[in-house]
Each structure stands twice: as structure tokens, then as C-alpha cells.
């Protein structure tokens, strides 16, 4: 882990002292709220719906056990005993008092942490792969470059007042776990012919109200040129980015408006104009210095297989399930990466109590060289666990209520805080996540449904990354002042496109004489290949919308109409519409796109003409297929897991492995009928998911 040098320590301590003075001046009235707001935001302090909220940076998601214990102490002493891990690998405290914040910042500085640049129009916390440095598939460790970018961007005078916030993600592995294609700048490591590492520079991606996939402006940038080149990009953005309209100020709009070629030329011209020799030399030395902090810990020489571990796998099914779902291959023989789910069934995604933080810190000390990672999926990771220790680690996690084996399954939901905490939200999102999680509480059912990413946002700012997977976006209907359920939701599918149509409609139920919200979200199929190859003809989202809408008009997606009921609603016959229970003002969210996304593009493909040709091309190219089956930025070359899951689902229960039946099942399950068949097979009659969210 990186350790602060004298300069870093003084810089952070000075900053905390400066903020203490600013808070004092605010409290005694010297500063007005208008003057104080930008100052507090630069220190990560928001005023949210119910109280202040402090967002603490966890640089590239790497935490030491000492830091995690300090976060637990802060939660107990100045907050309400818990913290919320975010999709930017940060942590938020939801109830600090203004007068306590300087003390909190001092406590953070004592463990080399801060809240600088977790808000405001500056370069935010740089994120990376949560498995950085330990992943078996990694080209090189991205953390030294993340740290270099962190130091370069911290209070950078030129880039502290950008047109809008700016987010950078780096990945060192071919399978992108850091979502680099939906960041303002995404850096993806490759090796050139000589075997030297370098970055593919992707610019102009993003989610929010205008979801876009980033475009590559440099295929290969030698690592030594990273800082000067990123500086050139920042300068072009700082100069040409729109400041007239907040909603058009992100770099993705600039890249989209002038085109990637023109943008690329501007960046190259800016880059050529400077003399970078000195900077490159300096950066190379600095990377070397930083990289020493990320030297691998003292791994033991261990055998590939541990007999004790294998015996435990046979003896204990719960443990075996956890290992299967929660561990990942480590680059060192005899070690594993252990994920810790912060998504207990029915729990709040990303929340951890102070006791849980301490438990994880203790387990990290015992089994993972004291290191913890935060994943952008709002989970924690112990990156260096000897495989032989997995069982005792698991026992410790069970005791701390942290052993839910649901990683990558339907209940591993990414959710923003939504209107329960956030002042920008238009709908609640946590209750939707909880209801879906409870509906799929049975882990065997989740395993049958298979690998499924479900993300939920409470407003179009997309903090829950709802475009990045099967997504649910909460919206407000009619000003929210109707007496009936007021949240609405719509689903988006796996493309970076909006929903084909809104999910819920206001409808008067004549029999009962009252208004209710109902309706369905059909599989909002996207046409094959539509997600990122169409940028020349308009924005990704508008193209996707056109294609989705045209499919809807053809009636492609409304033929299979099923219903899947939540646990608090009595089961009804297929075809009958259910209504909220008498006296229960509840919102119903229907999500059949879960099933559609589960089956990926296969369900969404019309079976004739050009589309069919595209489908064939698409199936014959494994890379293309993997990309379309998953969120575009979760592309894993050559990965066939999605197919394997489908095979398992298609096969009869107890039929054994998927491999022998794969092809047959895929064939049988292609087309629209796959979704209901799939769900019938796992014992669910209806495949539209309806979840009741209790009235407030």
C-alpha cells in the first residue's frame, strides 16, 4: 500500500486545518452559506435530504486494516454506527454534524485519508480494478499509475475549476472490472510488440442523463507519457468544454459534438505543443518510487491444491457455495481473492456497520496482509488470502454476517442511496433493491437464474449505474402529489440505451374506483450490434431508442406476458393483473427485462433479414458475442460464462454440468420463448418480476 511521505502528510493535515478555520468562520457568520458551499463541497461535505453527508475518498479503492478501523471509529463516534460504500469506491457517512467534520478530517488525516475532491468540478477519486495487483489475468499493476494520477490531480490549480466533474478509471487487466469505457477518461493497459506496457486512452464515456460509451483517442500510449497526455486532454476539455449548460458540460458532450477525430487532433496538437521530456523523466522516477509501495507482500510458497481445503469443500456445502461464488483466481499459486458481499438478503446495498468494518479489518490482518479493497459494485475484497485459510476466513465472515454467497447474482444489486438519503433523487431505490433481493432470497433460485447484474438508480444521474447492466431507473410521476403510489420506474436493458417505454402507467381501476399505477416493462430488446457501433448516425442512446421503439411497434416484445410476484403479494393466475393489496399503498415495479438480459441478446434478436445476418456474424465472433451479452464495459474476451449459465438453466435440474447439453439448450432456448421456459424450469410460473415497495 502507498504510505504518505512527509509532503503528503503535511498537505493533508494543512487542508484539514484550513477546513477547520472555514467551518469556524461559517459558524460565527463570517462566511455566508453561498460562500461556504463550494468550500465544503471541495472537502466532500454535502447537505443531503436529512442531514450533512461526508464522502471520504478511498484512493482507487485500496484500504488498510488500520484505515478501516478508523472509519469504524468515525462511524461510532461522530455518525450513526455505519458507513455506505459507493460505486466510486468511496465511503459516505450520512449523519455528521458540521461542527464535528474538522475533527473527522483530522481523524482521517491520522490514517492517511481525506475527503478532498470527492465533490465539485474537479478530478474525482481515480478508480481501478478491485483486483489490481493480484488478478491472475493482469498485464501490469495499475495502482502505481492511479497513485501518480492522484498526486498529480490533487488540488491541481489548473484543473480545480473544470466545466464539470471529471472521473478517471484505470484497468491493468483485459477483463475490465473498472468500467473504463463509461468514464471521462478510461485507461486500459496493453502491451506493445516489444512487450512494453502502455495505455489505450478512452475519452468521453459516461452514464448519467446522456449515457455514452467512450471513444479511443490513442491506441497505445507509453506509460511514461501518461501524465503529460492526460494533461493535454484536460486542457482541451478545460478550454472547449461547455460552461453554458450544466447538463452539457461533461467531456462526453464535447467529444460527441465535435467528433472523436477532431477531439483527438486537438489533444495531439496540445500534446505536441509542450515539451514533456522533463515531465516524463520526473514521472518515471516517481512511478518507480510509488511502485515500491505496491511491491507484493511476502507470499508463502504454497502448493496449488490444499488437501484440507478440498476436504472442506466436500464436507460443507455452504462453504463450497461461498467459495464458488465469492472467490477469484489469484496470480500467486496457493492464494485466492476473496470477495465480501455487502448485499445481505433484504439489506441495504453497500452499507456496513462499524462492527462489520472492524470484523473485516481483523480478518484482513489475519488472512490478507492487512489489505482490503472496495469494489465499485459496493462490495469489499480481501485480495491476498491463502487458499488453505479460506475456511476459517469464511467462518469469521459468517459470524459477522458477511458471508452471503451472492456475488454476481441477482441479489448483488448496485443501488444508489436514492431518495432515502439523496436530495437529488426522484425516487427511492434501496427499497426496490431490498424487495428484489427478498424475492430471490433462495440462493438456489439465484444460482439457477445465474449470472445477472442488476443496477438501480433513483434519478437520471445514474449513480447506481443503471445503464451498465439490467437497470432500473426510478422516476417521479406527476409531481408526486397524487394520493396513490408515486414512484415510477422504468427498465433499461444491457445496452447503454434508455428504456423503450416507461414502466408504469397511471390507470383508473373502474371496479374499485381508484387510481393505480400499473403496466409492464417488456423486454426492451436492443437490436444486435446496436450498442456501440452506431455512433456515427447519432448518439448511442438515440439510435438505441429508435431501434427499441421500432421493435416494440412490430410487437416483438409483447407476446410473452408473464408475471412474477413479490413475497408480500398473493400469487395470482397467469394473465390476471394484480393490484396493490387493499389498504396497502404500494408501488409495483415490473422487471421482465431481468429475464431478457439474463438471456442476453438472444432474446432480443428478431429472426429475419439483416438482423439475422447480424446475429450470425455476432454468434460466430466470440468477442463480439461476449461484448453484447454483457454490459459493454464488462467485456471479457473469449469468456463464455454467459453461455455456460444459459446451458445450465436450460438443462434439467440435476442434469449435471452444462457442457454436454450446452448447444442443444441454446438452440432450444433461442427466441422469445426462452424467457418463460427458463422461469418455468426453475419453478416460477410468470416471468415478469413485480415487486411491491411498501408505501412510506
Amino acid at each position: 500500500m502507498y504510505r504518505y511521505d512527509e509532503f503528503d502528510a503535511r498537505f493533508v493535515a494543512d487542508r484539514a486545518a484550513q477546513f477547520r478555520d472555514q467551518v469556524q468562520r461559517r459558524l460565527d457568520g463570517t462566511l455566508s452559506e453561498e460562500e461556504f458551499r463550494p468550500l465544503r463541497l471541495m472537502n466532500g461535505l454535502y447537505l443531503q435530504l436529512h442531514a450533512y453527508m461526508l464522502r471520504v475518498a478511498i484512493p482507487y479503492g485500496v484500504l488498510g486494516s488500520r484505515q478501516l478501523r478508523q472509519l469504524a471509529m468515525i462511524a461510532d463516534r461522530w455518525d450513526r454506527g455505519y458507513g455506505h460504500f459507493t460505486t466510486r469506491q468511496n465511503i459516505q457517512f450520512n449523519w455528521p454534524k458540521l461542527g464535528d467534520v474538522p475533527d473527522i478530517l483530522d481523524a482521517l488525516a491520522a490514517v492517511e485519508m481525506h475527503a478532498i475532491q470527492t465533490s465539485g468540478n474537479c478530478i474525482r477519486n481515480v478508480t481501478t480494478d478491485q483486483f489490481a495487483g493480484v488478478a491472475a489475468d493482469e498485464i501490469a499493476d495499475p495502482r502505481p499509475y492511479c497513485e501518480l494520477l492522484r498526486q498529480w490531480s490533487s488540488l491541481h490549480p489548473e484543473f480545480s475549476f473544470l466545466p464539470r466533474k471529471f472521473k478517471i478509471a484505470v484497468t491493468g487487466a483485459p477483463f475490465d472490472r473498472a468500467a473504463v469505457k463509461v468514464h471521462d477518461i478510461g485507461l486500459r493497459m496493453h502491451r506493445d510488440a516489444a512487450g512494453e506496457p502502455g495505455f489505450e486512452v478512452i475519452v468521453g464515456g459516461g452514464l448519467g442523463r446522456t449515457p455514452m460509451v467512450g471513444k479511443t483517442v490513442r491506441d497505445f500510449l507509453p506509460v511514461a507519457e501518461l501524465v503529460p497526455y492526460v494533461t493535454a486532454i484536460m486542457r482541451v476539455y478545460n478550454r472547449f468544454g461547455r460552461r453554458d449548460n450544466k447538463y452539457k458540460a461533461r467531456i462526453k458532450i464535447l467529444v460527441h459534438e465535435i467528433g472523436v477525430d477532431a477531439f483527438s487532433e486537438l489533444v495531439e496538437a496540445e500534446y505536441r505543443a509542450g515539451d514533456h521530456a522533463a515531465g516524463i523523466e520526473l514521472a518515471a522516477g516517481e512511478v518507480e518510487r510509488i511502485a515500491a509501495y505496491f511491491a507484493p507482500p511476502a507470499y508463502e510458497e504454497l502448493p496449488e491444491q490444499d488437501p484440507g481445503h478440498r476436504a472442506r469443500l466436500f464436507e460443507n456445502r455452504d462453504f463450497a457455495r461461498w467459495v464458488r461464488q465469492s472467490t477469484a483466481p489469484h496470480k500467486v499459486r496457493g492464494y485466492s481473492i476473496a470477495n465480501i458481499s455487502l448485499k445481505p438478503i433484504g439489506g441495504i446495498p453497500g452499507d456496513a456497520s462499524s462492527a462489520q468494518m472492524r470484523a473485516v479489518a481483523d480478518l484482513a490482518d489475519r488472512y490478507s496482509f492487512g489489505e482490503v479493497r472496495v469494489a465499485h459494485e459496493q462490495n469489499l475484497v480481501l485480495p491476498n488470502v491463502a487458499t488453505r485459510d479460506l475456511f476459517t476466513l469464511w467462518e469469521g465472515l459468517v459470524q459477522a454476517d458477511l458471508a452471503t454467497p451472492n456475488l454476481g447474482l441477482v441479489s448483488d444489486i448496485i443501488s444508489c442511496p436514492g431518495m432515502d438519503y439523496c436530495s437529488l433523487a426522484t425516487a427511492r431505490s434501496i427499497p426496490v433493491a431490498q424487495a428484489i433481493s427478498r424475492r430471490f432470497a433462495d440462493l438456489a433460485l439465484q444460482a439457477d437464474v445465474g449470472d445477472l447484474r442488476l443496477n438501480i438508480s433513483g434519478c437520471i444521474n445514474a449513480c447506481g449505474h443503471h445503464h451498465g447492466a439490467s437497470g432500473i431507473l426510478g422516476l417521479e410521476k406527476r409531481g408526486g402529489i397524487l394520493p396513490d403510489p408515486r414512484s415510477a420506474a422504468r427498465a433499461t436493458n444491457a445496452a447503454l440505451g434508455p428504456a423503450a417505454r416507461p414502466g408504469l402507467r397511471r390507470r383508473r381501476d373502474r371496479r374499485r374506483g381508484r387510481v393505480r399505477w400499473s403496466g409492464s416493462i417488456s423486454p426492451t430488446g436492443r437490436a444486435p450490434g446496436s450498442s456501440f457501433s452506431t455512433s456515427s448516425g447519432g448518439s448511442v442512446s438515440s439510435t438505441s431508442r429508435r431501434q427499441s421503439m421500432s421493435l416494440l411497434k412490430q410487437g416483438e416484445w409483447t407476446t410473452d406476458h408473464w408475471r412474477f410476484v413479490a413475497d408480500d403479494e398473493p400469487c395470482r393466475r397467469p394473465g390476471r393483473r394484480s393490484s396493490p393489496r387493499r389498504g396497502c399503498r404500494a408501488t409495483t415495479v415490473t422487471i421482465s427485462s431481468i429475464a431478457a438480459a439474463r438471456l442476453g441478446a438472444r432474446c432480443a434478436e428478431p429472426a429475419a433479414g439483416r438482423a439475422d445476418q447480424r446475429r450470425r456474424a455476432h454468434l460466430s465472433d466470440p468477442e463480439h458475442r461476449a461484448r453484447s451479452l454483457r454490459a459493454p464495459f464488462l467485456h471479457r474476451p473469449g469468456d463464455d460464462r454467459a453461455t455456460a449459465c444459459r446451458g445450465r438453466l436450460g438443462s434439467r435440474p440435476g442434469a449435471g454440468g452444462a457442457s454436454s447439453t450446452n448447444k442443444k439448450c441454446i438452440k432450444r432456448d433461442s427466441g422469445l420463448g426462452a424467457v418463460p421456459r427458463l422461469f418455468r424450469r426453475v419453478g416460477i410460473e410468470h416471468c415478469k418480476v413485480a415487486v411491491h415497495i411498501p408505501a412510506q
Binding site: R26, G29, E33, L47, H50, A51, P96, R428, I430, Q696
Partner: protein, 100 residues
Amino acid sequence: MPKIITANHLVVGDVVFLAEDGWTPVVDRAVVADDDAALQHLLDRANQAEAANIVVGPYAVEIRREGGRIVPLHYREAMRTRGPTVRPDLGHQAGLGGRP
């Protein structure tokens, strides 16, 4: 439409409502303005309180009366009177005897 004034307390950050005798966390104690003149009077008081560094960002909220209780019309505002719906142990609802 009757209205009340709400804001956040500067030091604590909690949601507060303008009452006869100052600011209160209990929405039922808020002063209700039934017409524009009364509302303007309340807004003037609220702006003075903001200038005096007691509260932050005061604004008016439409409400309806339900058997002596005050209920904001918008669900966002209704939620502000209570706390997060997913954590009934937090926010004003925790200190109000489990008031829905």
C-alpha cells in the same frame, strides 16, 4: 394551498420546520400559512434566521392537514419529516415514538 417553511439546521444538519417560537424538528408544530401574506411573513422570518446562521436553505412546502397533523403533499417532503424509510431507527421518526 396551505404551506409551511422547512430548512436544515446549520450546525446539526437536521431537517427543521418554522414554528411560532423558532425552529422545531416536529412537523406538527410548524406554523401553517394559509394565504400569500402569511406565507410572505413566514419567509421573511426564515430568511432572517438564515442570515443569522441558524438554518440553511429555507423554502416553503405545500401541505394538507389530516386530523390535526400536518402532512406534506410531496412524498419527498413527507420523507424529510421522518427520515429514511429503510432505516426507521434513524432520523426524526426514531425520536417521535415511531410516528409513521
